[in-house]
């Protein structure tokens, strides 16, 4: 059977032409560097490396730590896949933050694109939870302390706090139960949610195409078909990013601490992952007691409120949605970005 006959056989059963027509019709804004597309590429790579790691990883408190050491020491290319998964995650989060900041500054959430902002914001939350759950899977001393603090912080939320914390931990304390739970989140719940939300995020903006943002070609109105013009532009950048991740993975393999011990004291000079540093640093600012109230609860409530305001920004910023200039919210955006960046740097240096 030659190729044409095979093609004929398939198109008699499945309407490929319709699919090809759809693909040709879809257009996107051309950018020199599309942070959203880069993140999507990195997430796809995380799926691949994650699935291969899941072949060997054992989600049990007695074996988890050892199975990772086995992956990096005994398996073919194991060190590379583990390191790549780590660095892919770091860069995906970094590009996600840049993507968010860019959207915030250019107010790309306006013009009926509120849902793009909402889904993107939830995806950032999911990605951070991806980071936290993946971090615990290492099951070393630092991961244990980090997850204790992160899940403990949830408790300070009013009404649902205690319930949510027990749900996350699988009990009242961080134990082996938490490990299996976080494994389930990391390999099944979060990936499914990510697939669903990413497909919403990229397809939801039918009505008004984004004409804002950075690194635009021409006057910023250049819409190009996804196949192949947009794709080829993305491929150039993806190749660079792939090279960056692989280089980092080879030269800076992430360390593995000593196996987690529920009774051992917290290791000294412990610091959370960089994407938690601004929260960590904020918590350090608050004293134990403020006017007789628990300082930690106040700190967590303030952070949660700030996040909620950021999430609802497209609804609050009415001027932008009417197409008028809204300098106030430019400054609000700058304030958010400056706070997160400064606190991250202070946390890193202190």
């Amino acid at each position: 059977m030659n190729f044409l006959r095979l093609k004929g056989w398939f198109s008699g059963r499945y309407d490929f032409r319709e699919l090809a027509r759809l693909a040709k019709e879809k257009t996107r804004t051309l950018r020199r560097f599309d942070f959203g597309a880069v993140t999507r590429f990195l997430i796809a790579l995380q799926f691949v490396t994650g699935m291969t790691l899941a072949f060997y990883y054992v989600p049990h408190p007695d074996f988890a730590h050892k199975s990772i050491i086995d992956i990096v020491t005994k398996l073919n290319m194991g060190w590379f896949f583990r390191s790549f998964h780590h660095w892919g995650a770091q860069l995906a989060l970094l590009f996600l933050f840049i993507h968010l900041f860019g959207t915030l500054l250019t107010k790309s959430y306006r013009n009926h694109r509120e849902f793009v902002w909402f889904t993107g914001f939830i995806l950032l939350g999911i990605s951070i939870f991806f980071g936290l759950s993946g971090y615990l899977l290492l099951w070393d001393d630092r991961a244990l302390a980090g997850v204790k603090v992160a899940t403990g912080g949830v408790k300070a939320l009013p009404v649902i706090g205690g319930f949510l914390m027990a749900f996350l931990r699988g009990g009242i304390d961080v134990t082996g139960e938490t490990l299996t739970r976080f494994y389930a989140f990391h390999v099944s719940l979060l990936p499914l949610a990510t697939l669903f939300l990413v497909s919403l995020h990229v397809n939801i903006r039918k009505k008004e195409k984004s004409r804002t943002g950075f690194f635009l070609f021409g006057q910023g109105n250049a819409h190009a078909p996804i196949l192949n013009q947009k794709l080829y532009h993305d491929l150039i950048v993806w190749l660079l990013v792939l090279g960056a991740v692989a280089t980092l993975a080879v030269f800076l393999p992430p360390e593995i601490g000593i196996k987690a011990d529920l009774l051992a004291p917290t290791p000294e000079n412990i610091k959370p992952e960089w994407y938690f540093l601004f929260v960590f640093q904020t918590l350090k600012l608050f004293p134990g007691q403020i006017f007789g109230l628990n300082g930690e609860v106040i700190a967590i409530l303030l952070i949660a409120t700030a996040m909620a305001i950021l999430f609802l920004l497209p609804l609050i910023d009415k001027k932008s949605s009417r197409g008028e200039p809204s300098p106030l919210f430019t400054w609000v955006g700058i304030a958010y970005i400056a706070y997160i960046m400064i606190m991250t740097i202070v946390g890193y240096l202190s």
Partner: protein, 156 residues
């Protein structure tokens, strides 16, 4: 189609019926899955029984760990020889604390919290003193209990 003396059409009746079926079905699933996914909560122990000989002879100005549920408990002998037991969990964000013999203080590395020899919070973010546990010695047994809990050992 609507019969003259009927209040609603047949279509609406059927939509309501099957809509209700769907709602009940999904509510049942969500309830069951939620119930299963939410863990059965263990609880902090009221007391633990340890071997007295393992703990009483530790040198002054040191601590020895024991398991208080999934958390560390600390058997602490002060520099002057006085003994106390406490839960080695920081009151700020539940990190495990450690005793620093040189400073004679308890230290939490997570957010740099300090507690004095009596477990009182003296520096950093912790809002409350460390939880003091009560210990009693019965023959060879060292019984560490929560404050105010009546210890009833099973009769062997």
């Amino acid at each position: 189609m609507k019969i003259d003396y009927s209040l609603i059409t047949r279509r609406r009746f059927l939509n309501t019926l099957f809509g209700g079926w769907g709602a009940a079905f999904f509510a049942g699933i969500i309830y069951a899955v939620g119930k299963f996914a939410y863990p059965t909560l263990g609880k902090e122990p009221d007391f633990v029984v340890l071997k007295a000989a393992d703990y009483l002879d530790i040198p002054p100005n040191t601590t020895k760990l024991f398991a208080w549920g999934g958390n560390p408990g600390l058997f602490f002998k002060k520099a002057d020889g006085a003994v106390m037991t406490l839960k080695g969990v920081c009151t700020h964000m539940e990190c495990n604390v450690t005793y620093k013999p040189a400073e004679r203080k308890f230290f939490c590395a997570c957010h740099k919290g300090w507690f004095d020899e009596k477990g009182k919070n003296i520096a950093g973010p912790p809002p409350k003193p460390l939880e003091i546990l009560v210990y009693t010695i019965e023959g060879e047994k060292l019984i560490v209990a929560k404050k105010g809990v009546k210890v009833e050992l099973p009769k062997a």
